[in-house]
Amino acid sequence: MRQILLSIATLFMATAVGAQQSAIPAPKGAQQVLVYQFPEIFRHFAPERLDMSETANSMLRYLLMQNRYYDFEFEFSNSGISSQSPAFSHHLYTDSLEYSCSLIPLEDAEQFKKLIGILPGQQAEDFSGGKLHSLEFGSIAYIPNNQSYAILMGYSGSYKAFNDESRAERWGVSKLWPYSDEETAWPIEVSADSVVALEPPAEALIAADDVIAVAVDATPVEGEQVSDDDMSRVSVEVEDIYAVREKEIDSVCQIWMRQLLESMLKESKDSYARLREWKDIKFPPANALVTGYFDFKAQWLLGPDWVRSLLGVDDIPSASEEWMQFSLLNEPHAVELRMESHVAPSTAKATSRIFGRKLNRKMLHYINVDKDISVGAYAINTRRYLEEVPEIFKTAYATFRDAEEIDLALDLLAIALDEKAIDKLVRGSGVFIFSDIQPKTYTAVKYNWDAENFESTEEEVTQTTSMPEFIYIFDTKDAATVRKILEYGRKREGLSYRDGIYMLDRPGSMEGMELYFTVKKNLVFMATNRKELEQIRAGKRRGKMTCAKRRFLRKHVAAGWFNSKRMAEVITIKNSDDTDLSRIAIKMNLLGPINFSYDRSRTQTQKGRIIIHTDNQDTAAIDYLLHIFEDLKFK
């Protein structure tokens, strides 16, 4: 009995150690997490195949933060990375720095060290039960003593982290600009002794941006002379000052990175434990190859720095209550991109109201499943949309600098809009049909060069190009007002009219693309091909639908498909002279249909799916698709 218990205890301990080894500590509060499911990925790909794939290779380089500190020929098969456990990439945006943190399972630590440029015998720092290696550009690599994983950490944004003078002072970083405006004629006054010092007083330092301005604009004060030697000496001094400040900043960033790493190791929570801190998070099925998680509160979602400063947003809390997740799944004969978002209850309620209508059935008479290349349909409730939008914007802008003004503006907008009248005019159902690709001719001007004197003359030449043809339909309950608007366009000479069809008059540059409008049975049609509208006006239904497709379009809030084979057929028949398109046609013919859909939910979850059918029985769908995708890319 005792032996049995001992065996169980040993087994349990071994399992626990194994689990501990596979769990890589992750940083707290990351706003962006990518999970690379290596076991699933390598179930479908041999490492050698991944090495040959440009796309897979670039994803792995991203994981290894390759562009940050080293340049090499990457081969997974010789990387020392384990294919038996997942790898993770965390991005953490703080009010000071942006940290990138890659958590990589290892099979051969020595091989991995070689890969990331750590030379044999290179000095490493003892750090929390492992070794810390310094890499180029201030990045670090931590490998624990059991060598089961590696943590690569880098940072960016250090240039702006010390714009905050109080922070700079607290961390001993010299001031950005020590001189007042009146003192800027300094090149003659500043001597080498006063500025070049390893530990200079903060007042003696200036910023890099100012270096250029001073070096270029350094003009002597009237009556004084500056020699070339003086100027070059000053430039060197300024560069030295900049370098000193850079060193100060880098050393603080190194302290912060080490603090972050230490707290990660101390708390020892893996990526999944961290993700469970996100509200209502669900993990994707086992056949997910790559999964990304994005916190909507992440500052980067608002765009570049200047947008954030324009909006007056300096600090956004990362409550992780609103997030988006995407997963790339390998299904039998298909690849699926599944997206799921979790929104605030107020947003969920609003979207549930907005998407409360079904697609107008009448529109289905104009969709042809055999002939159309692609179809996209949606249904919203215009009145509810107009009612909800001001509230959505108010919530979104609540934390912004001019929230009060925005609030007032939105209230005024809500008063000004007559939701019921607009709802009558545009009901909310819409269908976009990509119906054809037609060769179009147009004239262009080319230069002819006289062989005698190389004087140019303009020559009008005829060119051919392939143009997409489409039909867009939306529904209305107020056809009279739509006609009134079109008539107004005609009176203002923006539109011309013949036999119930309006044509948009455009300048010559759009001669290849024509746009026609008509209204029929409370549906408004906009198309690039006049004949299509003539037939619609004559009462000929262009549509052909299957029950399955009909259900598919009406079941979802937004849905559609892309018929790859039809696209290939259209190109082959009508556009065979276009070599680029012909190349696409060959590849499109190897694919099945691509379906996409978006679903609202009364709960806080919203879902989107894109399913690419690969029309292939032999190879894993993802491998097959990757081949096609990489062949399609222009070389």
């Binding site: 262009a444 001007v445 080319k446 230069y447 190389f454 140019s456 540059s509 693309m513 222009f634």
Partner: protein, 207 residues
């Protein structure tokens, strides 16, 4: 050579250093694509200027050129139906062209990507164009999507230099010299010029 767009740099240089310069952009062959791009505000992260903005900037450049002593007869041509634009002006001394171009490069931050200047030595009868293509230009190009790169593959840069005196020799064996030997033309692909700055250089010895 068929192109998606063509940029033309024409210089008529008299022996006393005066002359006429014309810079043109012809996007006519891609006008359908340009017209659709113009409808978007941003393409691949870059702002797309409106017709009005393009027109304003062309006239700003023209106003600047008119204000420069030694430059005259400044003319702007713009055709938004064909996307053909040109600026031409006469100059008393080619050194003034360098000064004006330098200002324009800096104003529109073109120096960070590409810039060129001329050198004409009256007594030695030599003409040279020095050109630099900054690494930033190549980086910007590499950042483009494969589709965008593909679209640019046939873009052409044409230079035409005309002189009073016949050309004795040129540093570019691929440049065409007219039968009268008084004009020289060079046509290179935009993409090649990005990667090999020397292709944009020119040196001419006149008789």
């Amino acid at each position: 050579m068929s192109s998606c767009f063509e940029t033309v740099e024409e210089l008529d240089l008299r022996s006393d250093g005066s002359g006429k310069m014309t810079l043109s952009f012809n996007g006519s062959e891609s006008k359908l694509k340009i017209a659709s791009l113009m409808k978007m505000k941003f393409v691949s992260g870059y702002k797309v200027p409106s017709n009005q903005e393009i027109s304003n900037e062309l006239h700003n450049i023209a106003a600047y050129l008119r204000s420069q002593p030694g430059l005259s007869n400044v003319q702007v041509k713009q055709d938004f139906s064909e996307y053909i634009f040109s600026i031409s002006f006469s100059f008393n001394d080619i050194a003034l062209v360098n000064k004006a171009l330098e200002h324009i490069w800096e104003k529109y931050n073109i120096t960070a990507f590409q810039a060129f200047s001329y050198n004409y030595n009256k007594s030695a009868k030599t003409f040279a164009k020095t050109s630099k293509v900054a690494a930033e230009a190549r980086r910007a190009y590499e950042k483009l999507s494969d589709d965008d790169k593909h679209s640019l593959r046939n873009a052409i840069y044409t230079t035409v230099y005309r002189f009073d005196s016949p050309i004795k020799s040129t540093g570019d064996a691929k440049a065409k010299i007219s039968p009268s030997r008084k004009a020289l033309m060079q046509q290179i692909k935009f993409v090649d010029a990005l990667h090999t700055a020397a292709l944009m250089q020119q040196s001419v010895k006149l008789q």
